[in-house]
Each structure stands twice: as C-alpha cells, then as structure tokens.
C-alpha cells in the first residue's frame, strides 16, 4: 500500500501531458460517455497516465481534471481510493504480495522471504529493480499464495519457484504467468477430483 501514498521526498513534476498516441487512446475512452458525462472516463484516463509515467503525479491528476472538466479534488478522491493507482514512482517490477489469510496459511511468508533475498528489499521498500509491497487479498485465494507483478498474477508460489521467478524477472528472462505449478486456471491441484468419468 505504500505506493498508494505520495512520497514527500520525490519531487512532483511541474507539468504533465499525454503523448499524442496516449491522447488518441484517451479520446476513445472519453467518447464512450455521453456529452456532459465525460468525467466518467476518469478511471481509464488515470490508468493511461500511470502507464505513461509509471506513476500518478499531482500534475497528471490535475491534467486529467482539466481534460474532463472536473474539480481536481474529485480526481484525487478517485486516485487515492483505488490502491491500483500508484502515487509515487515504483521500481521496474512492482511486486505486490498478498499476505491475507489464505495466502498466509499457504506460505506467503516464504514467498516474502524469497522476494527479500532476490531483490534485497523488504515490504514498503523500493530500488531501481523492484518495489515490494504487501497487499490485501488479491482475490485469487484458490491459487494462494499469490503475487501480482505489474499487470500479471503469479500463483501457487512456493519459496523455490518464487525465488526462481523473481530471479528470472531480475535477469530479464522470460517467465511463466499464472500458476507456477502448471495448474489449469483454478482447477483442483493435480487434476479433477470429481466427475472423473462417466456416471
């Protein structure tokens, strides 16, 4: 959650503007809403801004407020409400580890240890390579323990596979998204347990 609060030590840029390409995308979102209701596009636009810069600066939020004709505070409210918006810069890999009950019972402590060893940082800390964060239930308890890294989920983590995963990310090697033990979506581990044959 720490990336959810602005970092007083990181200077806020003075200005922000969408690049022409991002602006094209923004226009598509804005066009989805009837005239006078453009402010409904605030969430996708915040996401675009975050993708452009890697995080949301005050200038970016003010820019979007101006673009959509809404009071800046209304944009701040949205951006601060959803934890997916990052209000401070993060490292190359934004590693969010779930430590809620299901993940914790299934060994999230080990995953945390693996991450700390590979990246050399703890929860709430950041370096160029990565930002490590503790998050609440990621909604993928079935495949606990779970980490969200960037836009992707990595599931069924253990100390070993997590360590390998993090190392691969760090080394820029390709990694497997989703379950790390070959589970198909959220099916039972090791294959079907019911309806195994014709009745």
């Amino acid at each position: 959650m720490s990336s959810h609060y602005p970092d007083p030590n990181v200077p806020q840029p003075e200005t922000f503007a969408f690049t022409p390409e991002v602006m094209e995308q923004a226009k598509v979102f804005i066009a989805k809403y009837p005239a006078g209701r453009q402010r409904s596009a605030v969430m996708p636009l915040l996401d675009l801004a975050q993708r452009q810069d890697g995080w949301l600066s005050r200038a970016a939020m003010d820019y979007i407020a101006g673009l959509l004709g809404m009071p800046p505070i209304k944009v701040y409210e949205v951006a601060t409400f959803y934890t997916m918006y990052r209000l401070r810069p993060v490292g190359k890999h934004h590693v969010q580890l779930c430590t809620n009950i299901s993940c914790w019972l299934r060994g999230s402590d080990d995953v945390k240890r693996a991450a700390e060893e590979v990246f050399g940082i703890g929860f709430g800390q950041s370096n160029d390579e990565a930002t490590l964060e503790e998050v609440e239930c990621a909604g993928a308890c079935v495949n606990a323990p779970v980490a969200q890294i960037g836009d992707d989920y990595y599931e069924d983590l253990t100390y070993d596979n997590a360590k390998a995963l993090f190392q691969a990310l760090k080394d820029g090697k390709p990694v497997q998204v989703g379950s790390q033990i070959g589970r198909q979506t959220s099916c039972p581990e090791g294959g079907p347990t019911t309806l195994k044959g014709d009745a």
């Binding site: 959810h4 009071p71 800046p72 505070i73 701040y76 409210e77 601060t80 409400f81």
Partner: protein
C-alpha cells in the same frame, strides 16, 4: 400521500419524504450527524438508525429511507436504541475524546449524543488512528483526528458554496477529509463549515481557545457588513464580542453567514475612537465631550445653514441619520446624502431602490439578469441563494458586467451599458428568455448605478422591466442589490438633498471650492476626504479611519454591536441590531450624541428616548413602523434616457474582506486579504489559532 405510523403517531407526508423528515414534522427528533436539511443526503454516519416494519429485520437509516404507505417506524425501540449505541461506540473508537481541550466542547453534537447513547466506558484497547491536520485557510482550524467522516463539509463546499475544494481521500479507516493540496477553501462562506461540522474537527481559527459556549452572553442581532441584513447572534463575554454566528431566517440568510460578517469582529477592538478629539494647531488632541461640542458650536454659530452639509456612512443606523437630518435642517441646511458612492435612484419611488422581489423571490425566479454587480463579493449569502436556484436547473442566468466566477454558470452578455441596451430593445437573445419567463428578474448592482451615466442606465433597466414584463401581477422582478447596510434606510428617511440642496458630488465640490464651510460625516469613510478642502469637518463614528483623520472634531460613536439601531436591508426589510456590549471608552450611542449636540447648538431636538426617535422614523415612513403594512408601491419609469458610456460596469467591491472601517481594522480580514485577494497561499508557521 403515504400514511405511516411513527412511534404510534399516524402521519401523512408527501411521497419522497424521508422517515427522518416525517418524524421531524411531528416533533420527534432522530439523532443524526451526516444529515443536514440544506445538503444532499449522504447516509454515511448511521446514527439515525430506526426500526422499520415491514422490511428486513435490521435497523434502517431513517435519513435516507423514503416513507412508504403503511410503514410502522419505531425510533426508540430496543432494537433502534441498541443499534444507535453500537454506532456511537464505533464512532468513538477513533475519536480522540479530547473534549477538555476542544473548542467544540459544550456545543458538540457528538458530545451530546454520546451522553445520550454512549456507554460510560470504552471496550476499545487498541491504538486509535491519528490524522494529520490540514490547512483550510485563515478561518478554519482543523483537528482531523476528531473527524467522523460525515462529509457535511464536503457537501457544503460543493453544493452551497460552489467551491469544490474539499474531498475525502483514501478509503476505509484511512479516509481523510482534505483539500489534498493544502489550500484555503475558495469561498466567502467558509466560516459556515465550522457551524456544520458536528464535531470539533473544523473549528474557528480566529476564535480558537477563546471561550466556552456557556460563558457567553448571546444577543440576537443583525449584520451590517452588507445590505442583506443577515440575522446573527453576537456572543460576548464581559465587554468583548468574541464571535458572531448566523441565526436562521429563511427569508434573508437561511442559516448562512459571510466570512466578513462572521470574522471581521476583531476589528471592533482595534482603531477605536474611544474619546472625543478636537483639532488644535493642526493636531487632533483628546478632549471632553463639552469641549468637542463647544468647538462645533463655535463653528456653527458663524456658519450659515446653506454652507453646511452632512454625509451618512454605510453603517449608520436610521435613528442617528434622522436626528442628524432634523438637526441640520433646523440649522438651515438642505445638503444631505447617504450615498457615499453617488448612486442614482428615483428618489421619489422606493421601488427604484429596493430588491422588490425579496431575497426569497430568488427561489421562484426563472430568468435572472445580473447587471453591474458581483453578488459573490457584494452579498455572498445572497449569491449562495442564486446558486441554489441555479442548481435546481429551473432558472436561466445572464450577467452584464465584469466576467467573474459567481460559482454558477451565467450567460455573459457583455460588460457595459450596450449589452443592457440590447436586452432593452430586444436584440439580445436573453430578452426573449426574460419575456418567456414566469418570474423574470433583473438584479441591478452598484456597479451600474454609481456611474456618470447611471441615470441613463437606470432608464435602460426600467425599459427592460417594461419590455420584458418584469413587473406583473404579484411579482416585481426589478431588484437593486445594495452594498451598504445603511443605504435603504437613509433613502427611506430622506437623507438625500432637499430643495436646492447638494448631493454628494455637490458637497465635495462645494467644500473643495470653499462654498461649504461645515461638513458633518456620520461614519462616512468611503468618500474622497481630500476633496473636503478647508471645510470644518465633524466626524462621528466608531473607528479612526479616513473620515476621522480629516476631522476637526471627532465624536466617538458606537459600533453596530454596541447599540440598538434600525436598518433596512436591500429588500427594505426593517430589522434592528441589539446591544451586545457597551460602547468603548467615552463612546456613546449615536443618536444620543446628536441629541446632546442639538441642545448645545440651541436647537434641542424633541426626542428624549429611543422610542421617540423611532416614532419620528415611523412618522416619516410606514416602512419603519413594525405595525403598519406598507402598501405595495406603484411601478413607474425610472431614470432619464440619455447617452451611455461604453465602459464596463465595475463592481465597487474590490476586496470583499475590507469594505468598511471595521473590516479594515480587522487582522483576520487582513489575513484573508493576503490569502484570497493577494493570492498568498503560504501556510503560516507558528502557533495555530
């Protein structure tokens, strides 16, 4: 109309009414924090839980639940009480319970309701949350740990004030009320946030740690910082006014009050004239009343009435104006003016200077043309009413004058008389809007009426009235918005030039040229005192401002909190201030000064009591008589057709926070000027409060 039963009492209310409102109608008060009758419904505090049948077997938030036919509501059943106790316990989990050092103590909704519904001890042993305090400007102090997130302040800023600067950021237990960018709330109504906040999270900065509510003597009075005549309560301890709060008056200020009216009161203790002064060898020296009167008498004895004049200021009460006029009339003068800005009206018809539709008329108007006025600064409470009307979407707004942010959208027709001419001759599309409206209104400000060409502007406005049908059966949409509290009273009692008398410009140029030898300033500080030439100037008033500086004799008068004075607001509504504290030092109530002076001058006025002075007022005009209904006047054509200047209308109020001797003496207003007018938003360091 659904019928329901609340606590065994059957009641029928219009559909759409909420349970809480229905209960209110039959005198049952349901506790609440977030609900406020003038704000939208948020339903987030849960204090108003009641038991409702039929429905799910759980308590319901009565502020957000509309009534339905056949409902049975129990506001005090064991279930409701238990639910409320639970809510209270939750609210108190993170509340610091620092009542002994909290300014809200003694008038805190949370405190009161905790007494009613709280447990006497806490079961909570964990850490409480703490929230960093926020900067919200020079008037609102914050202690955000006390906040219960009712969002009343957020809704007020957005809905009533039209300054959406506040919001709730983060979520869950991390939620905080803030401007996020640490800026002053951009509104002239920000003081009302303090009244609205049900706990001590938002308190008054200038009043911080000054007094407890039970120590204060509360006096119901009237505000004189603008011409709206907001109803106020003056809270004093000893002989010091400590704060001013609004009083409810649906027809005038509802329950709001502008920041200047609320917070300029520290000016009542600074720059005060507390003793008479007489100029000796070019220097003002303190004197006794006898000496001061003698100095005036000596001058008056050698001056003919025709060479005397009097100007009344913007805060003068009607009593002192009428006596001053009577006295100078007896001395032979006919040169009076109560219009320090030289405003032009048709002095024979009060319809030409009143806000004829009434302030409450705004609630019904469906087309509103504002001309030469910035109501946001000239009358912020009235502006909030305009905004309220705007938000209903039932009225169209247009503005002729400087384009400013009035907190609502207006169709900007132009800046000067030409745009008004276009409405008058029908070439502006807004003329059609006015014509089509049921209750159209024009609001004419002092920016339009204090110009060289104002007679012609008044004629144009009058033409708009006729061509667009602003005056019709049961509706008069010709409205003048004054900026001075004393003005309408002065016009009504005839503090204007008599036959062959001089008006303000005549008085000033007369004094400049040496044609006038004696000028009496009754609290008049907004005139160009340099133009008074060599005239002998008497200044009667409360503050050492421009007028006193130029005076040859100073007579210390009372400020509005120190006397009972009659004022007519911009609608012509008669209201009276009340004495909350005594005048400072040697200062006296103004009418008594003039009465005493009249004796020394050998023209003793017959009025010996305030009641007699008021009888005199009532004899002049029924408007001053509480018991007589004033017949609706007859509409006439006002002004004189003539050429107009193309120059833009400019509002006379250049700085809302400093418009008169009191607010100019106020430190709080100086700070507001710094922040809001000069745009110096830097957060002051040092002790807060």
């Amino acid at each position: 109309m659904p019928k329901l039963t609340i606590d065994g009492i059957e009641v029928e209310v219009p559909a759409g009414t909420t349970i809480l409102q229905a209960a209110e109608q039959i005198g049952i008060e349901i506790p609440r924090f977030c609900y406020h009758e003038r704000l939208s419904i948020a339903g987030n505090c849960r204090m108003c839980l009641v038991e409702v049948q039929p429905g799910p077997p759980k308590p319901a938030a009565s502020c957000a639940m509309p009534v339905a036919e056949g409902m049975t509501v129990k506001t005090n059943s064991p279930m409701a009480v238990k639910a409320r106790k639970g809510v209270m316990e939750f609210l108190l989990i993170n509340h610091p319970l620092d009542c002994p050092i909290c300014d809200q103590g003694g008038e805190c909704d949370l405190q009161d309701q905790a007494v009613a519904f709280g447990y006497d001890r806490s079961r909570y042993t964990e850490q409480k949350r703490a929230v960093q305090d926020k900067y919200m400007g020079p008037l609102v102090a914050t202690e955000m740990t006390r906040c219960i997130q009712c969002t009343r302040c957020v809704r007020f800023a957005q809905e009533v004030a039209g300054a959406p600067d506040l919001g709730g950021v983060n979520r869950g237990e991390h939620m905080e009320i803030t401007t996020y960018v640490e800026k002053a709330i951009g509104s002239e109504l920000s003081g009302n946030l303090v009244d609205l906040c049900p706990v001590g999270a938002l308190t008054s900065k200038p009043y911080a740690f000054n007094a407890r509510p039970w120590e204060l003597k509360k006096t119901e009075s009237i505000d004189v910082f603008d011409a709206v005549g907001s109803n106020i309560r003056v809270d004093a301890r000893g002989n010091e006014v400590l704060r001013v709060l609004p009083r409810l008056n649906e027809d005038v200020n509802e329950e709001w009050l502008g920041d200047k009216s609320r917070h300029a009161i520290d000016g009542l203790r600074r720059q005060r004239l507390d003793t008479p002064y007489v100029r000796k060898d070019g220097k003002l020296v303190p004197a006794s009343w006898q000496e001061a009167f003698a100095a005036i008498a000596a001058k008056v004895k050698t001056t003919s009435g025709a060479k005397m004049a009097a100007v009344a200021g913007d805060m003068a009460d009607a009593e002192s104006m009428v006596l001053l006029k009577d006295l100078l009339t007896a001395l032979g003068s006919r040169s009076f003016d109560c219009r320090q800005d030289g405003a032009v009206f048709d002095l024979s018809n009060r319809l030409s200077w009143q806000f004829n539709s009434g302030i409450a008329g705004i609630d019904e108007a469906d087309a509103i043309l504002i001309v030469g006025s910035n109501p946001r600064w000239e009358a912020p409470v009235l502006n909030a009413r305009l905004r309220k009307r705007y938000l209903t979407g039932k009225a169209k707004f247009a503005l002729i004058g400087e384009a400013t942010d009035l907190t609502y959208k207006v169709d900007h027709l132009g800046t000067g008389p030409d745009a008004l001419k276009a409405v008058a001759d029908g070439s502006s599309p807004f003329a059609a809007v006015l014509k089509a409206a049921q209750k159209p209104m024009i609001i004419l400000g002092m920016g339009a009426l204090t110009r060289k060409d104002s007679a012609a502007v008044l004629a144009l406005a009058s033409q708009v009235v006729d061509s667009c049908g602003l005056v019709k059966d049961g509706w008069n949409g010709f409205n003048v918005l004054h900026t001075a509290a004393a003005r309408v009273g002065g016009l009504e009692l005839g503090f204007v030039p008599g036959a062959n008398g001089r008006d303000l410009e005549g008085i000033l140029s007369g004094a400049e040229k040496g044609e006038l030898d004696f000028v009496y300033l009754l609290g008049a500080d907004e005139i160009d005192t340099k133009r008074l030439g060599k005239a002998f100037v008497v200044y009667q008033g409360s503050h050492g401002d421009a007028g006193a500086m130029r005076a040859d004799v100073i007579l210390p008068g009372a400020a509005y909190t120190e006397k009972s004075g009659t004022y007519l607001n911009t609608e012509g509504r008669m209201q009276r201030t009340a004495r909350a504290v005594f005048p400072i030092g040697e200062a006296k109530e103004d009418w008594t000064i003039i009465r005493a002076l009249s004796e020394v001058l050998g023209h003793t006025l017959p009025q010996n009591t305030l009641a007699q002075v008021r009888d005199r007022l009532a004899a002049i005009s029924a408007v001053f008589d509480e018991d007589t209904a004033v017949p609706a006047g007859k509409w006439g054509a006002f002004g004189a057709a003539g050429t107009t200047d193309a120059a833009a209308f400019e509002s006379p109020v250049k700085n809302y926070y400093m418009t008169d001797p009191i607010s100019r003496a106020s430190r709080t207003m100086a700070e507001c000027t710094e922040v809001y007018v000069n745009g110096n938003q830097k957060r002051k360091t040092g002790t807060h409060g």
